[in-house]
Protein backbone atom coordinates (compact mmCIF):
# COMPACT_ATOMS: atom_id res chain seq x y z
CA UNK A 1 0.00 0.00 0.00
CA UNK A 2 3.02 2.27 -0.22
CA UNK A 3 3.75 2.93 3.45
CA UNK A 4 7.26 2.43 4.87
CA UNK A 5 7.87 0.95 8.34
CA UNK A 6 8.90 4.38 9.72
CA UNK A 7 10.14 4.38 13.35
CA UNK A 8 13.20 5.90 15.04
CA UNK A 9 15.91 6.90 12.55
CA UNK A 10 18.60 6.02 15.12
CA UNK A 11 17.25 2.67 16.24
CA UNK A 12 20.33 1.90 18.37
CA UNK A 13 19.89 4.93 20.61
CA UNK A 14 16.11 4.33 20.84
CA UNK A 15 16.78 0.78 22.05
CA UNK A 16 19.38 1.95 24.55
CA UNK A 17 17.01 4.63 25.89
CA UNK A 18 14.18 2.10 26.33
CA UNK A 19 16.44 -0.43 28.05
CA UNK A 20 17.82 2.22 30.42
CA UNK A 21 14.28 2.73 31.77
CA UNK A 22 13.38 -0.98 31.76
CA UNK A 23 11.06 -0.79 28.72
CA UNK A 24 10.75 -3.45 26.00
CA UNK A 25 12.38 -2.41 22.70
CA UNK A 26 9.15 -1.44 20.97
CA UNK A 27 7.98 1.27 23.39
CA UNK A 28 7.38 4.78 22.01
CA UNK A 29 9.87 7.46 23.06
CA UNK A 30 10.49 11.05 21.96
CA UNK A 31 12.82 11.64 19.04
CA UNK A 32 14.46 15.05 19.42
CA UNK A 33 16.08 16.68 16.39
CA UNK A 34 18.47 19.63 16.80
CA UNK A 35 16.73 21.11 19.86
CA UNK A 36 14.52 19.62 22.54
CA UNK A 37 11.40 20.62 24.47
CA UNK A 38 10.79 21.58 28.09
CA UNK A 39 8.89 18.76 29.79
CA UNK A 40 6.83 19.04 32.98
CA UNK A 41 6.17 15.73 34.74
CA UNK A 42 2.88 15.64 36.66
CA UNK A 43 3.92 12.33 38.30
CA UNK A 44 7.28 10.91 39.40
CA UNK A 45 8.93 9.00 36.54
CA UNK A 46 12.16 7.38 35.39
CA UNK A 47 13.61 8.69 32.13
CA UNK A 48 16.77 8.37 30.03
CA UNK A 49 18.39 10.51 27.33
CA UNK A 50 20.52 8.97 24.56
CA UNK A 51 21.89 9.97 21.16
CA UNK A 52 23.67 13.17 20.18
CA UNK A 53 25.15 15.26 22.98
CA UNK A 54 22.26 17.19 24.49
CA UNK A 55 22.49 19.75 27.25
CA UNK A 56 19.57 19.15 29.57
CA UNK A 57 18.60 20.48 32.99
CA UNK A 58 16.44 18.56 35.45
CA UNK A 59 14.93 21.03 37.92
CA UNK A 60 17.74 23.41 37.03
CA UNK A 61 20.59 20.94 37.46
CA UNK A 62 22.54 19.45 34.53
CA UNK A 63 21.89 15.74 33.94
CA UNK A 64 24.01 13.15 32.13
CA UNK A 65 22.99 11.08 29.14
CA UNK A 66 22.99 7.30 28.83
CA UNK A 67 21.80 6.56 32.35
CA UNK A 68 18.50 6.25 34.22
CA UNK A 69 17.28 9.55 35.72
CA UNK A 70 14.68 9.77 38.49
CA UNK A 71 12.23 12.67 38.02
CA UNK A 72 10.08 13.87 40.95
CA UNK A 73 6.39 14.66 40.61
CA UNK A 74 6.21 18.22 39.29
CA UNK A 75 9.79 17.97 37.96
CA UNK A 76 10.86 19.88 34.87
CA UNK A 77 13.29 18.54 32.28
CA UNK A 78 14.54 21.35 30.04
CA UNK A 79 16.30 20.12 26.91
CA UNK A 80 18.60 22.49 25.05
CA UNK A 81 20.38 22.09 21.73
CA UNK A 82 21.96 18.95 20.39
CA UNK A 83 25.64 19.95 20.49
CA UNK A 84 27.17 16.89 18.78
CA UNK A 85 25.27 14.58 16.47
CA UNK A 86 21.75 15.60 15.43
CA UNK A 87 19.11 13.54 17.26
CA UNK A 88 18.36 12.42 20.81
CA UNK A 89 15.90 9.99 22.33
CA UNK A 90 14.02 10.52 25.55
CA UNK A 91 12.47 7.34 26.92
CA UNK A 92 10.13 7.26 29.92
CA UNK A 93 9.55 4.12 31.99
CA UNK A 94 6.24 2.66 30.81
CA UNK A 95 6.59 4.25 27.37
CA UNK A 96 4.50 7.01 25.81
CA UNK A 97 0.98 5.71 25.25
CA UNK A 98 0.49 6.98 21.69
CA UNK A 99 -2.13 5.33 19.47
CA UNK A 100 -0.58 3.15 16.77
CA UNK A 101 -1.50 3.68 13.08
CA UNK A 102 -0.92 0.66 10.82
CA UNK A 103 1.11 -0.87 13.66
CA UNK A 104 3.45 2.09 14.24
CA UNK A 105 3.42 4.80 16.93
CA UNK A 106 5.94 6.84 15.01
CA UNK A 107 5.09 9.99 13.07
CA UNK A 108 5.78 9.15 9.40
CA UNK A 109 6.68 12.61 8.10
CA UNK A 110 6.35 11.72 4.41
CA UNK A 111 3.13 9.71 4.66
CA UNK A 112 1.75 12.09 7.34
CA UNK A 113 0.63 9.06 9.33
CA UNK A 114 0.85 8.36 13.05
CA UNK A 115 0.62 10.69 16.07
CA UNK A 116 0.74 14.43 15.41
CA UNK A 117 4.16 16.07 15.87
CA UNK A 118 4.54 17.48 19.38
CA UNK A 119 3.66 21.10 20.06
CA UNK A 120 3.95 23.27 23.15
CA UNK A 121 1.05 22.86 25.56
CA UNK A 122 0.11 19.28 24.79
CA UNK A 123 0.04 16.51 27.38
CA UNK A 124 1.56 13.09 26.69
CA UNK A 125 0.01 10.06 28.43
CA UNK A 126 2.32 7.35 29.78
CA UNK A 127 1.94 3.58 29.98
CA UNK A 128 2.42 1.51 33.14
CA UNK A 129 5.96 1.77 34.47
CA UNK A 130 7.84 -1.51 34.93
CA UNK A 131 8.65 -2.75 38.44
CA UNK A 132 11.13 -2.66 40.11
CA UNK A 133 12.26 0.89 39.26
CA UNK A 134 15.01 0.80 36.59
CA UNK A 135 18.59 1.85 37.41
CA UNK A 136 21.12 1.40 34.59
CA UNK A 137 23.85 3.09 32.60
CA UNK A 138 25.50 2.33 29.27
CA UNK A 139 29.23 1.63 29.35
CA UNK A 140 31.28 3.47 26.67
CA UNK A 141 28.36 5.28 25.03
CA UNK A 142 28.59 6.39 21.36
CA UNK A 143 30.37 9.66 20.58
CA UNK A 144 29.07 11.70 17.66
CA UNK A 145 31.77 14.41 17.69
CA UNK A 146 33.90 12.91 14.89
CA UNK A 147 32.08 10.75 12.40
CA UNK A 148 33.90 7.65 11.12
CA UNK A 149 33.44 6.75 7.43
CA UNK A 150 29.98 5.28 6.83
CA UNK A 151 30.25 1.67 5.71
CA UNK A 152 28.46 0.85 2.47
CA UNK A 153 27.83 -2.17 0.27
CA UNK A 154 27.70 -1.92 -3.52
CA UNK A 155 24.22 -0.88 -4.68
CA UNK A 156 22.08 -2.84 -7.16
CA UNK A 157 22.69 -0.21 -9.87
CA UNK A 158 26.39 0.39 -9.18
CA UNK A 159 27.12 -0.50 -12.83
CA UNK A 160 24.95 2.42 -14.02
CA UNK A 161 27.68 4.85 -12.92
CA UNK A 162 30.95 5.95 -14.49
CA UNK A 163 34.21 4.64 -12.98
CA UNK A 164 34.90 8.23 -11.85
CA UNK A 165 31.63 8.31 -9.92
CA UNK A 166 32.48 5.08 -8.08
CA UNK A 167 35.91 6.48 -7.26
CA UNK A 168 34.52 9.86 -6.14
CA UNK A 169 32.14 8.21 -3.69
CA UNK A 170 34.98 6.33 -2.02
CA UNK A 171 37.58 9.10 -2.11
CA UNK A 172 35.81 12.39 -1.47
CA UNK A 173 34.03 13.80 1.55
CA UNK A 174 30.29 14.50 1.12
CA UNK A 175 28.62 17.28 3.00
CA UNK A 176 25.15 16.97 4.57
CA UNK A 177 22.68 19.51 3.12
CA UNK A 178 20.18 21.44 5.26
CA UNK A 179 17.18 19.96 3.35
CA UNK A 180 17.92 16.59 4.98
CA UNK A 181 15.11 15.11 7.08
CA UNK A 182 13.61 11.80 8.22
CA UNK A 183 12.98 10.88 4.56
CA UNK A 184 16.62 11.08 3.59
CA UNK A 185 20.01 12.69 4.12
CA UNK A 186 20.93 14.82 1.10
CA UNK A 187 24.63 15.14 0.29
CA UNK A 188 26.68 17.54 -1.76
CA UNK A 189 30.13 16.66 -3.10
CA UNK A 190 31.93 15.40 -6.19
CA UNK A 191 29.09 14.58 -8.63
CA UNK A 192 28.18 10.95 -9.24
CA UNK A 193 27.63 10.75 -12.99
CA UNK A 194 25.78 7.99 -14.75
CA UNK A 195 27.24 6.11 -17.68
CA UNK A 196 23.72 5.30 -18.93
CA UNK A 197 21.04 7.68 -20.05
CA UNK A 198 17.93 5.56 -19.71
CA UNK A 199 15.31 5.81 -16.98
CA UNK A 200 15.25 3.18 -14.28
CA UNK A 201 12.05 1.24 -13.57
CA UNK A 202 10.79 2.23 -10.10
CA UNK A 203 11.72 -0.33 -7.48
CA UNK A 204 11.39 -0.98 -3.77
CA UNK A 205 13.72 0.96 -1.48
CA UNK A 206 15.32 0.35 1.91
CA UNK A 207 16.65 2.76 4.55
CA UNK A 208 20.34 3.29 3.75
CA UNK A 209 19.88 3.13 -0.04
CA UNK A 210 21.91 5.93 -1.67
CA UNK A 211 19.80 7.13 -4.58
CA UNK A 212 21.41 9.37 -7.17
CA UNK A 213 19.12 11.76 -9.08
CA UNK A 214 20.42 13.24 -12.38
CA UNK A 215 21.98 16.12 -10.42
CA UNK A 216 24.61 13.58 -9.27
CA UNK A 217 24.10 14.47 -5.60
CA UNK A 218 23.30 11.37 -3.57
CA UNK A 219 20.40 11.03 -1.13
CA UNK A 220 20.74 8.34 1.57
CA UNK A 221 17.25 7.23 2.61
CA UNK A 222 16.08 7.15 6.23
CA UNK A 223 13.02 5.58 7.88
CA UNK A 224 10.28 7.73 6.28
CA UNK A 225 11.48 7.01 2.72
CA UNK A 226 8.97 6.30 -0.02
CA UNK A 227 8.54 2.55 -0.45
CA UNK A 228 9.69 2.76 -4.09
CA UNK A 229 11.98 5.09 -5.98
CA UNK A 230 13.12 5.66 -9.54
CA UNK A 231 16.73 6.80 -9.19
CA UNK A 232 19.60 4.29 -9.39
CA UNK A 233 21.11 3.15 -6.10
CA UNK A 234 24.92 3.41 -6.19
CA UNK A 235 25.53 2.04 -2.69
CA UNK A 236 23.65 1.01 0.45
CA UNK A 237 24.67 2.09 3.97
CA UNK A 238 24.85 -1.06 6.12
CA UNK A 239 22.25 -1.52 8.87
CA UNK A 240 24.78 -1.09 11.69
CA UNK A 241 25.67 2.41 10.38
CA UNK A 242 22.10 3.69 9.90
CA UNK A 243 22.25 5.23 13.41
CA UNK A 244 25.39 7.17 12.35
CA UNK A 245 23.64 8.31 9.16
CA UNK A 246 20.75 9.60 11.29
CA UNK A 247 23.17 11.51 13.54
CA UNK A 248 24.75 13.56 10.72
CA UNK A 249 24.03 17.23 11.39
CA UNK A 250 23.65 19.55 8.36
CA UNK A 251 27.08 20.80 7.34
CA UNK A 252 28.89 17.66 8.51
CA UNK A 253 31.29 16.14 5.99
CA UNK A 254 31.48 12.37 5.87
CA UNK A 255 33.28 9.70 3.86
CA UNK A 256 32.17 6.28 2.72
CA UNK A 257 34.05 2.99 2.82
CA UNK A 258 33.27 -0.38 1.25
CA UNK A 259 32.50 -3.49 3.23
CA UNK A 260 31.38 -6.97 2.24
CA UNK A 261 28.03 -8.52 3.11
CA UNK A 262 29.77 -10.71 5.72
CA UNK A 263 31.29 -7.63 7.36
CA UNK A 264 27.89 -5.90 7.35
CA UNK A 265 26.26 -8.90 9.03
CA UNK A 266 29.08 -9.08 11.61
CA UNK A 267 28.70 -5.36 12.38
CA UNK A 268 24.94 -5.79 12.94
CA UNK A 269 25.56 -8.75 15.27
CA UNK A 270 28.19 -6.78 17.21
CA UNK A 271 25.79 -3.85 17.64
CA UNK A 272 23.04 -6.14 18.96
CA UNK A 273 25.51 -7.82 21.34
CA UNK A 274 26.67 -4.43 22.61
CA UNK A 275 23.12 -3.55 23.74
CA UNK A 276 23.30 -6.44 26.19
CA UNK A 277 27.02 -6.36 27.06
CA UNK A 278 27.34 -2.64 27.77
CA UNK A 279 24.10 -2.12 29.69
CA UNK A 280 25.09 -2.09 33.36
CA UNK A 281 22.72 -2.31 36.33
CA UNK A 282 23.87 0.16 38.99
CA UNK A 283 22.53 1.45 42.30
CA UNK A 284 21.51 5.08 42.79
CA UNK A 285 24.84 5.96 44.46
CA UNK A 286 26.89 4.74 41.53
CA UNK A 287 24.64 6.57 39.04
CA UNK A 288 25.01 9.79 41.04
CA UNK A 289 28.81 9.43 41.14
CA UNK A 290 28.87 8.75 37.42
CA UNK A 291 26.72 11.81 36.80
CA UNK A 292 29.10 14.02 38.77
CA UNK A 293 32.07 12.67 36.86
CA UNK A 294 30.42 13.23 33.48
CA UNK A 295 29.15 16.69 34.24
CA UNK A 296 32.25 18.43 35.59
CA UNK A 297 31.89 22.01 34.44
CA UNK A 298 28.13 21.96 34.09
CA UNK A 299 26.18 23.76 31.44
CA UNK A 300 26.74 27.41 32.20
CA UNK A 301 25.86 28.44 28.67
CA UNK A 302 22.54 26.66 28.93
CA UNK A 303 21.71 28.10 32.35
CA UNK A 304 22.51 31.60 31.18
CA UNK A 305 20.32 31.17 28.14
CA UNK A 306 17.32 30.84 30.50
CA UNK A 307 16.00 28.00 28.48
CA UNK A 308 12.64 27.70 30.25
CA UNK A 309 11.12 30.27 27.95
CA UNK A 310 7.68 28.67 28.07
CA UNK A 311 7.41 28.18 24.35
CA UNK A 312 8.39 24.53 24.32
CA UNK A 313 6.54 23.19 27.36
CA UNK A 314 5.00 19.75 27.15
CA UNK A 315 3.34 18.00 30.07
CA UNK A 316 3.94 14.32 30.80
CA UNK A 317 1.42 12.47 32.93
CA UNK A 318 0.73 8.94 34.03
Amino acid sequence: MGVPASGAVDIFDLRVANRLVGNPDGEAALEITAEGPVLRFTEAAHVALTGGKLEALLDGEPVPMYQTLAVKAGGELACGRVMQGWRCYLAVAGGIAADPVLGSRSRDTLSMLGPEPLAAGITLPLGHAPQPAPSFYLRSPPQYAAMPPLRVMAGPQQDWFTPEALLNLRRDAYKVQPQSDRVGVRFDGAPLERGRGQELPSMGMVAGAMQVPPSGKPIALLMDHGTTGGYPVIAVVISADLPLLAQLAPGTAVRFSDVSRQQALAAAREQAARLVRDLVAADAGLLAARALMNLAGGYESLRQAAISDGKRRIRIRK
Partner: protein, 202 residues
Protein backbone atom coordinates in the same frame (compact mmCIF):
# COMPACT_ATOMS: atom_id res chain seq x y z
CA UNK B 1 15.91 -13.41 -13.48
CA UNK B 2 18.51 -11.07 -11.94
CA UNK B 3 19.01 -10.91 -8.18
CA UNK B 4 20.84 -8.03 -6.47
CA UNK B 5 21.48 -7.61 -2.75
CA UNK B 6 20.22 -4.22 -1.49
CA UNK B 7 22.31 -3.92 1.65
CA UNK B 8 22.74 -7.02 3.84
CA UNK B 9 19.03 -7.41 4.62
CA UNK B 10 17.22 -7.14 1.27
CA UNK B 11 17.17 -8.80 -2.13
CA UNK B 12 16.00 -7.02 -5.29
CA UNK B 13 14.56 -9.47 -7.81
CA UNK B 14 14.23 -8.19 -11.39
CA UNK B 15 11.05 -9.57 -12.93
CA UNK B 16 9.70 -9.51 -16.46
CA UNK B 17 6.60 -7.45 -15.60
CA UNK B 18 4.52 -6.02 -12.71
CA UNK B 19 2.29 -9.10 -13.01
CA UNK B 20 5.29 -11.38 -12.50
CA UNK B 21 6.35 -9.35 -9.44
CA UNK B 22 2.82 -9.72 -8.00
CA UNK B 23 2.83 -13.46 -8.69
CA UNK B 24 6.18 -13.93 -6.97
CA UNK B 25 4.92 -11.86 -4.03
CA UNK B 26 1.87 -14.12 -3.64
CA UNK B 27 4.02 -17.24 -3.91
CA UNK B 28 6.36 -15.94 -1.16
CA UNK B 29 3.42 -15.02 1.08
CA UNK B 30 1.96 -18.51 0.57
CA UNK B 31 5.33 -20.13 1.38
CA UNK B 32 5.20 -18.68 4.96
CA UNK B 33 9.01 -18.57 4.86
CA UNK B 34 10.41 -17.40 8.24
CA UNK B 35 12.44 -14.18 8.28
CA UNK B 36 10.44 -12.32 5.61
CA UNK B 37 9.86 -8.73 6.73
CA UNK B 38 8.54 -6.85 3.74
CA UNK B 39 7.65 -7.47 0.09
CA UNK B 40 7.64 -4.38 -2.11
CA UNK B 41 6.56 -4.81 -5.76
CA UNK B 42 8.17 -2.42 -8.24
CA UNK B 43 7.65 -1.65 -11.92
CA UNK B 44 9.60 -4.74 -12.95
CA UNK B 45 10.93 -6.02 -9.67
CA UNK B 46 10.13 -7.33 -6.23
CA UNK B 47 12.13 -6.13 -3.22
CA UNK B 48 12.29 -8.74 -0.46
CA UNK B 49 13.33 -7.37 2.94
CA UNK B 50 14.45 -10.00 5.45
CA UNK B 51 15.60 -10.46 9.01
CA UNK B 52 19.16 -11.73 8.36
CA UNK B 53 19.19 -13.43 11.78
CA UNK B 54 16.33 -15.70 10.64
CA UNK B 55 16.96 -16.06 6.89
CA UNK B 56 20.14 -15.85 4.81
CA UNK B 57 20.19 -13.92 1.54
CA UNK B 58 21.78 -16.88 -0.26
CA UNK B 59 19.08 -19.24 0.99
CA UNK B 60 16.41 -16.71 -0.03
CA UNK B 61 17.95 -16.37 -3.51
CA UNK B 62 17.75 -20.14 -3.95
CA UNK B 63 14.12 -20.26 -2.83
CA UNK B 64 13.19 -17.40 -5.17
CA UNK B 65 14.70 -19.11 -8.20
CA UNK B 66 12.83 -22.35 -7.48
CA UNK B 67 9.47 -20.75 -6.56
CA UNK B 68 7.12 -21.07 -9.48
CA UNK B 69 5.01 -18.03 -10.19
CA UNK B 70 1.37 -18.62 -9.41
CA UNK B 71 -1.46 -17.06 -11.40
CA UNK B 72 -3.20 -14.16 -9.72
CA UNK B 73 -6.87 -13.45 -10.36
CA UNK B 74 -8.37 -10.14 -9.30
CA UNK B 75 -11.27 -8.28 -10.92
CA UNK B 76 -10.12 -4.80 -11.95
CA UNK B 77 -12.07 -1.83 -10.63
CA UNK B 78 -12.68 1.35 -12.64
CA UNK B 79 -12.06 4.88 -11.38
CA UNK B 80 -12.65 8.30 -12.96
CA UNK B 81 -10.98 11.45 -11.60
CA UNK B 82 -12.13 14.96 -12.55
CA UNK B 83 -8.95 16.99 -13.07
CA UNK B 84 -8.17 20.72 -13.22
CA UNK B 85 -5.38 20.86 -15.79
CA UNK B 86 -3.63 23.95 -14.46
CA UNK B 87 -0.40 22.41 -13.09
CA UNK B 88 2.78 24.42 -12.85
CA UNK B 89 4.64 22.17 -15.30
CA UNK B 90 1.94 22.07 -18.01
CA UNK B 91 3.59 24.69 -20.24
CA UNK B 92 7.06 23.18 -19.72
CA UNK B 93 5.74 19.71 -20.63
CA UNK B 94 4.09 21.19 -23.74
CA UNK B 95 7.35 22.84 -24.78
CA UNK B 96 9.45 19.72 -24.10
CA UNK B 97 7.04 17.50 -26.06
CA UNK B 98 6.66 20.00 -28.90
CA UNK B 99 2.90 20.56 -28.68
CA UNK B 100 0.37 23.06 -27.34
CA UNK B 101 -0.70 22.72 -23.67
CA UNK B 102 -4.27 21.97 -24.81
CA UNK B 103 -2.94 19.02 -26.80
CA UNK B 104 -1.05 17.73 -23.72
CA UNK B 105 -4.33 17.85 -21.79
CA UNK B 106 -6.27 16.17 -24.62
CA UNK B 107 -3.79 13.31 -24.85
CA UNK B 108 -3.52 12.83 -21.07
CA UNK B 109 -7.31 12.67 -20.67
CA UNK B 110 -7.83 10.47 -23.75
CA UNK B 111 -6.22 7.37 -22.30
CA UNK B 112 -7.37 4.62 -19.98
CA UNK B 113 -4.60 3.82 -17.51
CA UNK B 114 -3.82 0.71 -15.49
CA UNK B 115 -2.36 0.61 -11.98
CA UNK B 116 0.98 -1.19 -12.34
CA UNK B 117 2.09 -1.00 -8.71
CA UNK B 118 1.94 1.20 -5.61
CA UNK B 119 4.81 2.98 -3.95
CA UNK B 120 6.65 6.20 -3.26
CA UNK B 121 3.99 7.32 -0.78
CA UNK B 122 0.88 5.78 0.86
CA UNK B 123 -1.72 5.17 -1.83
CA UNK B 124 0.48 6.47 -4.66
CA UNK B 125 -0.28 4.36 -7.75
CA UNK B 126 1.97 4.14 -10.79
CA UNK B 127 -0.43 4.24 -13.79
CA UNK B 128 0.74 2.83 -17.13
CA UNK B 129 -0.68 3.65 -20.55
CA UNK B 130 0.66 7.20 -20.94
CA UNK B 131 0.74 8.54 -24.52
CA UNK B 132 4.36 7.93 -25.68
CA UNK B 133 4.50 11.54 -26.95
CA UNK B 134 4.27 12.69 -23.30
CA UNK B 135 7.16 10.56 -22.04
CA UNK B 136 9.71 12.75 -20.23
CA UNK B 137 12.43 11.92 -17.72
CA UNK B 138 11.86 12.94 -14.12
CA UNK B 139 12.89 16.45 -13.16
CA UNK B 140 16.67 16.74 -12.56
CA UNK B 141 16.12 18.21 -9.09
CA UNK B 142 13.07 16.84 -7.27
CA UNK B 143 10.73 19.40 -5.68
CA UNK B 144 10.79 19.28 -1.88
CA UNK B 145 6.99 19.70 -1.78
CA UNK B 146 4.30 18.76 -4.31
CA UNK B 147 0.68 19.52 -3.27
CA UNK B 148 -1.80 16.72 -2.49
CA UNK B 149 -4.02 15.78 -5.44
CA UNK B 150 -1.38 16.78 -8.03
CA UNK B 151 -1.75 14.86 -11.29
CA UNK B 152 1.73 14.36 -12.70
CA UNK B 153 3.71 12.45 -15.31
CA UNK B 154 7.21 10.98 -15.52
CA UNK B 155 8.74 8.39 -17.79
CA UNK B 156 5.96 6.00 -18.93
CA UNK B 157 3.72 6.80 -15.94
CA UNK B 158 1.09 9.15 -14.72
CA UNK B 159 0.02 9.34 -11.07
CA UNK B 160 -1.76 11.36 -8.38
CA UNK B 161 0.04 12.54 -5.23
CA UNK B 162 -2.16 11.30 -2.33
CA UNK B 163 -0.67 13.85 0.07
CA UNK B 164 1.80 16.72 -0.11
CA UNK B 165 5.29 15.25 -0.43
CA UNK B 166 8.61 15.72 -2.19
CA UNK B 167 8.46 14.65 -5.83
CA UNK B 168 10.31 14.68 -9.14
CA UNK B 169 7.37 14.34 -11.55
CA UNK B 170 5.96 16.98 -13.93
CA UNK B 171 2.70 18.41 -12.57
CA UNK B 172 -0.08 18.74 -15.16
CA UNK B 173 -2.96 19.54 -12.81
CA UNK B 174 -4.84 18.53 -9.73
CA UNK B 175 -7.89 16.60 -8.60
CA UNK B 176 -9.84 16.25 -5.38
CA UNK B 177 -9.71 12.61 -4.31
CA UNK B 178 -8.93 10.68 -1.14
CA UNK B 179 -6.47 7.99 -2.21
CA UNK B 180 -5.46 6.77 1.23
CA UNK B 181 -7.52 6.39 4.40
CA UNK B 182 -6.16 4.44 7.37
CA UNK B 183 -9.66 4.05 8.84
CA UNK B 184 -10.59 1.68 5.97
CA UNK B 185 -9.71 -2.01 6.00
CA UNK B 186 -8.08 -1.46 2.59
CA UNK B 187 -6.43 1.96 3.11
CA UNK B 188 -5.34 2.47 -0.52
CA UNK B 189 -8.13 3.34 -3.03
CA UNK B 190 -6.14 2.07 -6.01
CA UNK B 191 -4.83 -1.50 -6.36
CA UNK B 192 -2.60 -3.08 -9.02
CA UNK B 193 -4.73 -3.94 -12.06
CA UNK B 194 -7.34 -1.17 -11.49
CA UNK B 195 -8.37 0.98 -14.49
CA UNK B 196 -8.19 4.79 -14.22
CA UNK B 197 -9.39 7.66 -16.44
CA UNK B 198 -8.91 11.42 -16.03
CA UNK B 199 -11.61 13.81 -17.23
CA UNK B 200 -11.15 17.54 -17.79
CA UNK B 201 -12.97 19.64 -15.16
CA UNK B 202 -15.61 21.98 -16.65
Amino acid sequence: MNLHPMGEAALLVDTASPAHAQALRHALLASAMPGLRELVPGQASLLIVIDPAALGLDELAQRVTTLTAEARAAAPRHHEFITQYSGEDLTAVARLSGMEPVEVVRRHAATSYEVAFLGFAPGFAYLTGLDPALRLPRRAEPRTRVPAGSVAIADEFTGIYPQASPGGWHILGGCDVRLFDTSLTQPALLSPGDQVRFTVAR
